[in-house]
């Protein structure tokens, strides 16, 4: 299987690449619409500023090709900002439009807790999840973000709480997304990546 890693310039592309290598899977980096058209599975890693990701998708003419691939049914895994980009907009860059394949907004986590939400946290399972199958309920995952999907009617498979409850695992047809970093989440994270690859195969 050809796994395409969307490389728009985010810092964690290499980490995801290494994590896939450890699973024995070769991936190829891409930042062109043409390669998205032929992709068999797409991973959108992302870390940092929402605006940087959305602007890069537009400047590199990737938006239409990505949305088209999502609608075509190409298996997709969004990581961190890659989850947030699926929604309509974000408070982090209110002037920009997200991919809007899912309804809802990305909002700032409340300031009554330490931000960024940085470190290992557990999930609250909401409904059946393919990504989380075989993952024990008390597993921890590594988060590093200050914004999250707290305002959406779309039901997540799992949520996490830091100041507010937010979507941590999302599944919708061929679209999978996680707010945490599976590439940095030890064995449990590796298992999630492995599961995605199996679902995509």
């Amino acid at each position: 299987m050809k796994v395409t890693l969307l490389d728009y310039g985010a810092g964690n592309v290499a980490s995801v690449e290494r994590a896939l290598q450890r699973l024995g899977v070769a991936s190829q980096r891409s930042n062109s619409a043409e390669s998205l058209a032929g992709a068999e599975a797409i991973i959108l890693p992302g870390v940092g500023h929402y605006g940087a990701l959305v602007r890069a998708l537009d400047q590199q003419n990737l938006r239409a090709a990505l949305v088209d691939a999502l609608h075509r049914g190409v298996p997709f895994l969004g990581i961190c900002l890659g989850l947030q980009a699926l929604f309509k907009s974000s408070e982090e860059a209110p002037e920009l439009q997200g991919l809007h394949v899912l309804p809802g907004r990305v909002c700032a986590l409340p300031a009554n807790v330490k931000l960024p939400h940085m470190g290992w946290n557990q999930l609250d399972r909401k409904r059946d999840s393919q990504l989380l199958s075989g993952i024990s309920a008390d597993s921890f995952f590594y988060f590093a973000h200050s914004f999250a999907v707290t305002d959406s009617d779309f039901p997540p498979c799992a949520s996490c709480t830091h100041g507010a409850e937010f979507a941590a695992v999302i599944e919708h047809k061929n679209i999978y997304a996680v707010q945490f970093h599976p590439e940095k989440s030890g064995d449990a994270g590796a298992q999630i990546l492995q599961t995605f690859l199996r679902l995509a195969a």
Partner: protein, 254 residues
């Protein structure tokens, strides 16, 4: 269910080897960085820090190679630093595999460096390292490896750093570093309670009780130690089991 307190081993490196010292001086060899990284990754460390303690220009390629070798062993986040003076320095350690970058002396000299890094990599990737030393009724910021006073109040500097865009503070007590007398609880609590970002306590750890204290009374979000892990004085697994028994939230290794 809540955010776990993190245990972070630190690799102080010089010329491609892990070294250790007392009060920032008197260094001796403590092993291969990649071997130690692999061990800590499997023992349940929550993150790893790798520092270039010499931080001299001519040894920079060696440190980047060390960072690459360490990153290759990890399925947990990696912070790298020591001698980061510019955006370009930071880019090179990020390209080598670091998820976060720590800045110290250069940020004191030019706080805009923090903003530049924060804009490029995001706040979550910028760790402001503060070396603090008790001076009368406050804590003084020390620079150049803890040797020189910056004539800056540590509490004030922490707040400025966060306002500039730091996403985390790595707080080392120069008074406690290498003494194994325990973390500096009053210092850590004072800083942690006055900033909005997570604080990593460092300097002085030996016993599991020291970690329990810094997480409860010291309000630390994470705790960092070096030699006690390198020497096997303290295993990360047993430390976490001790903390869990004290009802402190930790990620227990499987």
């Amino acid at each position: 269910m809540s955010l776990a307190h993190r245990i972070i081993p630190c690799l102080d490196t010089d010329g491609g080897r892990v070294v250790k010292g007392v009060n920032f001086v008197g260094l001796r060899d403590a092993g291969d960085p990649a071997e130690l990284a692999a061990r800590y990754n499997s023992e349940g460390a929550d993150e790893l820090v790798v520092l270039d303690i010499a931080a001299s220009r001519d040894r920079r390629p060696t440190f980047l190679e060390t960072t690459r070798r360490v990153a290759a062993e990890l399925a947990i986040p990696l912070t790298a630093g020591g001698g980061i003076r510019s955006l370009e320095d930071a880019r090179s350690v990020v390209r080598a595999g670091a998820d976060k970058v720590t800045v110290n002396t250069a940020a004191v000299e030019r706080p805009e460096l923090i903003s530049e890094l924060s804009r490029e990599f995001g706040r979550q990737a910028v760790v402001l390292a503060i070396d603090a030393k008790r001076l009368d009724e406050h804590w003084d910021v020390m620079v150049r490896g803890g040797r020189e006073s910056a004539s800056l109040d540590a509490l004030e500097w922490a707040k400025i750093g966060v306002a500039c865009g730091a996403g985390e503070i790595l707080l080392t007590s120069v008074d406690r570093d290498g003494t194994q007398l325990g973390f500096d609880t009053p210092l850590t609590a004072a800083i942690s309670r006055s900033v909005s970002v997570p604080v990593i306590a460092s300097g002085g750890a030996k016993l599991p009780e020291h970690f329990a204290e810094i997480f409860s009374e010291g309000a630390a979000d994470a705790a960092l130690a070096a030699s006690i892990f390198h020497d096997g004085v303290q295993s990360i697994r047993e430390l976490k089991q001790f903390l869990a028994a004290c009802k402190i939230e930790v990620r227990l290794p499987c």
